[in-house]
Amino acid sequence: MTSSRPSPANAHDARRSLWYAVLVGAGIMAAIDEIVFHQLLQWHHFFDHATPMIGIVSDGLLHAAELLAIVVGTFLLIDLAHRHRLAARWAWAGVFLGMGGFQLVDGIVSHKLLRIHQIRYGVDLLLYDLTWNLCALALLLVGTWLYRRARRLERS
């Protein structure tokens, strides 16, 4: 994602770069979750019998959304870049906001409200849940900082 346009990105391009990158960021975080916690560590269980039916169904929808987000978001960013309209600073802000946003939704909605699966089984969950959601907040903070920076640099 390198684009140093001679003229500053217009508002429309900036907004699109941001949102398309949010899609990619959320998809990346979902993939990291799947690879690290499901496959490598095997902490997350593939299926948890404590999950209510609505949780299983929404998990399927969320899973499909993650997969499509990463493919569609990447294509949209490539499309912008081809037309020299990618605003890289906004895109980086979007990636971090997407990653943090997904992590937070996953930590609160999927793990706690829908109870699709827990972070780890057979341990005191409080510390794990706190770490998970604080990581999400840290990613969101980085994203917010990048967002403010992109806006400031555009004004100057």
Partner: protein
Amino acid sequence: MPSAQGYGSDGSPLAWLPLVLLGLVTLVYLAAARRQRLSNNGWSGWRCAFFSLGSMLLAAAVAPPVMAWAHHDLRGHMAVHLLFGMLAPLAWVLAAPVTLLLRSLPQAAARGVTALLRSLPIRSVSHPVTALLLNIGGMYLLYLTPLYAASQHSVLLNGWVHLHFLAAGYLFCWSILAGPDASPHRLGLRFRLGVLFISMAAHALLGKLMYGYLWPRGTGHGVEEIQAAAQLMYYGGDLAELLLAVALLCLAHRHRPRASPGVFELHGDQVGGRQSVPLANIQKRVVQRRG
């Protein structure tokens, strides 16, 4: 354990029949492609490669030892299902066999095929929603009812199930991509992505349900075998549907009119551009080319 009779383990020559048919179909495709290349029309080498790839994937699935494995082991069945219903059909659709057929047939016959493709039955099964129901709906029916157990005891039913996988998988891939063979429908990219989204979610959900509630039942498969097969369905399905999504966006990106604002900012009838032209135009083009 159900016996594996009639699936190649007894070495009956009939078990090799699908492989022979597959070889014939591939040879016919390649011969027709060669004829196009020798005349001035040309035919993409990529399409030949895609058709051969699809045939090889199918050949791997119908080889008698694999069929025998698939018959007594649910993991084998799921691997065969992935090849038959998802990966091989995608490769074949990308090879544009219908376009090649239309170009190779004599004019009168090509017109007949075009009329057939425009007929109501083909129009209805090639709509993404119908294809989705045939494809994923068929899977729910097979795995969450006693149908799967029944198919293990009947050679005929088992063969029909596999043909259904292949036909429904092909229709689904074609209806979502709406190309490279001309689709009888003019549906927007967003709509087709939406149907693909539902399909991915339904597929993932079925994998979870099979894992959690140990379907298909009444088959004598162990818990671990069913769970491994369900995970194979879940992750293998992810891979196949990701490839389909990538193919869809590649086609849409390639056919984007040059001056357009972006892939997603087109209207339905613009998206898919050249591959969504009505069949009548295709017929006209084919005839012109030959003339």
